[in-house]
Structure formats: C-alpha cells, structure tokens
Amino acid sequence: MTPFEIGLAALAVMVVLVYVGMYVPLALMVVSYCAVWVMKGSPILAGKLLALAASETISSYFFGVVPLFVLMGYIVSVTGMGRDAFDVANQIFRRFRGGLGIGTVGANAIFAAITGISIASAAVFTRIAVPEMVRHGYTKRFSVGVVAGSSVLGMLIPPSLLLILYGLLTEQSVGDLFIAGVIPGLLLALIFGIGVFAMARFWPGFIGENLSDSDEPLLDSGELFRKGFPIAALIFLVLGGIYAGWFTPIEAGAVGCLGAILIGLLRRSLTWKDFWSVLTDTGLVTASVCFLIIAAQMYSRMLALSGAPAEFGTFVATADIGFWGVVLAYVALVIVMGTILDSSSIMLILVPLMLPVIQPMNIDLIWFGIVTVLAVEIGLLTPPFGISVFVIKSALSDDTISLGDIFAGAAPFALMMLLVLSLVLLFPPLATLPLGY
C-alpha cells in the first residue's frame, strides 16, 4: 500500500471507530499510530509522532488561557450573574418569539469580541445559556444547537486565532483581516437571530412548543439595573481594558476571570464550595477538550505524512476550471475536510497549497481569508469530528443530551453559515468594504 492509500484507509477507519462508540481521542491516536507504523515501517517512529504532538500541540499562550475563559464563564454562571443577564435579555427580546435564543446569539457576539477561540465560547455558553433556555421551555436539542452555532462567532469577530493563523500563512495584515471579519461576523449573528425567530414561528417542534419567555413578570427599572449591572460591569472591564490598551485579548481571559471572582465576592454570591467545584470542573473540561485537540493534531500530522490532503489540494489547484471553479472546489474541499479534521490543521494543509494558484488570479487575499475561515468553521459543527459539539458535550451536565442531539441541533446553524458563506462569495465587499478599496 502506498502512503496515500494508507491515508485514505485511516480516514475510513477513524469514521467507523467514532460511530461504533470508541472514545474519540483514543480512536484518533490508535489510527494515527497504526497508520504511521505501516507507512514508515517502524512502531518507534509512530510512537515518536504521538509523543512530539503530545508535548507540542497545546503548548502556547493561546491555549494556556482557555481554562481561564472557561472558568470566567462558569463563575458568571454559578454566581447567578448569567441567569440575571438572561432575565434582562428576556425583557428586551420579549416581543420576539424565541427571544432567549436570539439573546444567546447576541451574547455570543459580544463574548466573541473578547475571546479569540471558539471552544471558549462553546464551553462558557453551555453553562450559562443552556439551563436558562431549557428552563423556559426550549427543547434541549435546540438549546445546545444554538450554543454550538453561535460559538463560531468567536473566530469571525475579532480577535480571532484562525485569522491570525491565516495572516501568518499568507503574509496578510492581521489588522486588515480583523476589520474584514467584522461585517461577515455581525451578518452571521443577524442571520442566526432571524433564523431563530423564523424557527420559533414556523418550526416550533424543533425549538420548543411552549416557550415561556414572555410569562416572566415584568421587571421594574430598579430590578433591571440590579440584574444587568454586574454582567455589564464585567463586559465593560474586559472590552474596555482591551481597547484601552491595558491588556491583550489573550490576557483578557485572566483579567475577566479575576473580575468575575471579585464581582461574585462583592455580591456575596460566590461561596468557597461553589468556587472549588467550578474550578475542578473547569479542569476536567479543559483536559478532555485539550486532550482531544492533541489527538486531532496527531491524526492530522499522520495525514500530512500520507500526503492524502495535499494530493486532493493539488488536484483542485491544478484542475483547469477557471476562477469560480477553483474557488468553489476549494470551499467544498475545506468543508469536506472539516468533517474529519480540526480547523487549524485544515488551514495549515490547504492554504499554502492554494496560495500559488490563486495569487496569479488576482484574488483579494483578505476576502479569501474570510471565505476560508467561514468554510473552516462549518466543520466545527459537522459530524463525525465537530470540535464545538464535542466541547458542549464535555461541558454539559446533562447526560440525556447525546452527541447526536447536539449535531442535529447545530445543523440548521451550519446551513445558515453556508448561506453567509455564499453571500460573502457573491458580494466580496461584505469583507473588503471597510478596508476602503
């Protein structure tokens, strides 16, 4: 067997192992190990690939702050700040059907301006938003679906780890990429909001038959202030601090975490027992998610060695199919690879391969970056390997919601992303207009 064939076989085996219920990180590791063994003829080399990926993959400042973002969200949840914020959101959106779902999308868009990484959004809102929506009569499936869907906003609205990676791969200004991500990000949030509203109206079986958003008693303005102020103060601290230059978006995880603890203590709503318990839980979520990411990296390095993704990329790059042919084939390839690979691996493999092909076509590389990130992020929601969905599963305290439920709940949002992707493809100014050219 050639390495290419081994790579294809490894793909197939992984999909089967995931569906028959093997633990996903362990399945990824087993497949990577065996495939490298067969390819290189050496179990020792195969082991080394695992060991190097284990110590390298998450060893960065970016990943280092993931637990702090998660902890911040959990403290917001355990101190009741999250619930209060939803009561306020409920008042604001009470005229809309599906108001809490819309509120979750909006809150995610705000949180996206703080975090550069989608897994943080997914972990945080699983704790804050899902229980509130379920309490108000939304189906569990929809509740986790809207959290999974809107978590992708974290990578589109700046700051964004993926846009930084793309900037590095293509030598484009990260500043320009961030500006270009704003309108598509807000557009995606808007379409998610409209989608939720439409589903509440026309597809109540999916979102929930008896939504009690508007049953809550009206809050007077004093109550609104009392409930809304703490979370507003936290957002102000974090966003204000970033844009005033006190700290970087990476450091914001730690500052926001400390801020949430202080606010919790001041409101006397954070007990030592609760604190320790969410802290432990933060660790378990971080460990299971990061271990999964490490395993995914092993798998993607194995695939890179097999040459399979590069061969597909070269096929698309060298096919004589014109501008739209190349762009559409590329987008399709990214989406297909998104079903089984993690976001950054897809970009690492495909972007450098496509770059020499698209540069002579005079394609705007900033626009192409936004297209790439949108297409890559769809993969966060698609089975069998969808990292946002996996994060929600490990952050969830409800065993009655299966992975399949979350994938199903997220599917409408993946479709809406496809719609926004098409719009950005058809109307490049959506990305490039604010850059003034």
Binding site: L45, L168, Q172, V174, G175, A304, P352
Partner: protein
C-alpha cells in the same frame, strides 16, 4: 544503479516566509541538480507551516527521525542551539545580513565546537544560514534621544528584550503575529522588528516612526539533516545536500537584499518616518546595556558548551571582515 531515497523535509514557518520559499525553490532543485548522473533520485515530501512540526519543534522532529531534513530556527531553540544564538547576544555589530550568514556558515565549517551543538542533537548542519535583516525600532512616537524611551512599553522577540535593558524602556516579550493589534490598542508603544516582516504586517500604519538604531542583522538558523540518516547515505547524496545548502544561502540572501530596500521604500511611501540615529546616540544606548554576552558565554561555559570561545571567534571574524562593533562584547 538507480536508487530512490524518500526524504521528508520540514519547516515550522509557512512557504510565504522567504527562507521556506527558497527551501522549496532553491534547495530542493539544487540538490536534485547535483544528483544528476549519480543514479540517485530523491522523492521529496515537503511539510511546511507546522503540518508536521511547529516552529520550535522542527529540531526535535528531525532529531527523532520523523523528518530526514529540516529548516531549524536556532532562534527558537535557545537551549539546544545556544552557541548559534551568539548574534542575538551581541547587538550593534553589523547590519549586513549576508555577511553575518556567510561568516556563520564559515565558522560552522572551521569550528568543530560550533558543529558539535548540532551533533549533540543528532543533527548534521547543512549550511543555508538564514540571515535576518537589521532589526529596527518602530514606535508610535518619534525617538530623538534615549529619554524619549523612558517608561515606554516595547514589544520584542525573546532575546531582544535584553537590548532594552538600561534604556528606561520596558521590554515586553512579544510575538510578531499580534504586534499590530497590541500597538494599535496601546499595549505596546513600539516594537523591535525587521523591515521585511514589518511591511506584510503593515506595522508602519500603527508605528510610523522607524528608527534605525543599529541593533544589527542576525543569524536565525539553517538546514540540518538527521545525523544517523545522513551518515548512512551515499557520498553523492551527502555532497548534494551540502551543495543545496550553499545554493540556498546565496539565493536567499540575494532575494533578501532586494527585499530590504524595497521594504524600507514601501514604508516610506506609506508615510513612515525613517531616521537613523547618530553615532553618539548609538554609543550611549550600547554603553547603557549590561554585557549580556558575557553572562550568556559564562552560562554556556558552565554547561560545558562553547560560550566564550564562540563569542570571541564570532567577534574576531566580524572585526576581520571589516565590521566596527559599537561594543567589543568579548573583550570587556
């Protein structure tokens, strides 16, 4: 007799980086060309941009044999290739990247101790020195005297944080990919960066004051092969790989030289103010620094690595080459 050798070649940076681009466009063709008529063909598998190993992980990937050849950034291997980082501990020596690279490759040929730090990591150094153009100070404010730097936060790559000690500026260990945003929001008031990286990142938009302080050009790494593998290869292939190294160094630096002037021109065209400091200013800056080179050499000597000897060999060779270091770091 015909023979095909499978070679995986890895780099942590993506191919848009000049040194990786030349690995693909100069090194590999040069090796192939040198092999013509030998009956050996190499079947290359190119793994760049972190698809097999991250920037700081290429050395280990090649050392362990996951890749046969790699583009190793000594700058990101401060512990394993410590003598190779000599240039970063001796600023204000020369701003000629081509000269520094030629000299570092020559030193590698002549100085067994310098080669040993590669060999200790099971690597065979193939040359292809990567020179980095003269580091500049880019700030949001004009720099006319050292006093202008007081209390200002300046982002810098790890070893360059030392250059700021004694200036009154606050050195913050930073990362090229986030400089733009951190200057824009005000986390940094400036950065230490080289021109050919400042242009693609559009740093001149947020830090339009470009000051040529004279920190100097640097050596940042080269191409190396897994030593065990290399030693087992036929001589023709070994020689071809070495020839590829020389070809890459020459082509890369020719390309770099053009890019440096183009980059400075591009910054000026986009409204940046480029100034060169006076010799007195430079002298004062250098005089205010601690002699980190000495501390660094002493530390290496203590670990049984060639610190002092590489320091003086490098400084001697640079002086011989006509450079006039602002401080003779080795002689103090």
């Amino acid at each position: 007799r015909a023979e095909t050798v499978d070679v995986t070649i890895a780099a942590g940076h993506p191919p848009v980086f000049r040194w990786v681009k030349h690995t693909s466009q100069t090194f590999i063709p040069a090796v192939n060309k040198a092999l013509e008529g030998s009956g050996i063909t190499v079947n290359w598998s190119e793994q760049y941009g972190g698809s097999l190993a991250k920037v700081g992980g290429v050395l280990e990937a090649v050392e362990e044999g996951l890749a046969e050849v790699g583009l190793v950034s000594s700058l990101f291997e401060a512990a394993k290739l410590s003598p190779q980082n000599v240039t970063y501990f001796t600023p204000f020596v020369s701003s000629n990247a081509t000269a520094i690279s030629e000299l570092m490759d020559k030193l590698h040929e002549e100085n067994a101790e310098l080669r040993r730090s590669w060999e200790d990591n099971n690597l065979e150094y193939l040359g292809a020195a990567i020179g980095i153009d003269d580091y500049l100070l880019m700030t949001t404010f004009p720099v006319n005297s050292l006093d202008d730097l007081k209390g200002k936060k300046i982002g810098a790559p790890g070893p360059a944080v030392n250059w700021l000690k004694g200036t009154g500026a606050i050195g913050v260990s930073g990362n090229l990919t986030t400089y733009y945003n951190e200057i824009k929001t005000g986390v940094y008031d400036g950065v230490i960066v080289f021109a050919t990286a400042a242009v693609p990142g559009k740093l001149y938009e947020v830090a339009p004051y470009v000051t040529k302080v004279g920190f100097g050009a640097q050596y940042a790494g080269g191409i190396a092969a897994n030593k065990e593998w290399f030693d087992a290869q036929p001589e023709a292939l070994q020689n071809a790989l070495r020839r590829g190294g020389v070809a890459q160094r020459e082509a890369y630096h020719k390309d770099l030289d053009q890019a440096i002037s183009a980059s400075l021109e591009a910054m000026r065209a986009n409204g940046a103010t480029i100034t060169e400091v006076s010799p007195e200013f430079r002298m004062k800056w250098a005089a205010g620094m601690e002699n980190v080179a000495k501390a660094w050499a002493a530390q290496l000597d203590g670990e049984g690595k060639p610190g002092s000897s590489v320091l003086s060999a490098y400084m001697d060779a640079m002086r011989q080459d006509g450079a006039t270091p602002v401080r003779d770091w080795d002689k103090e």
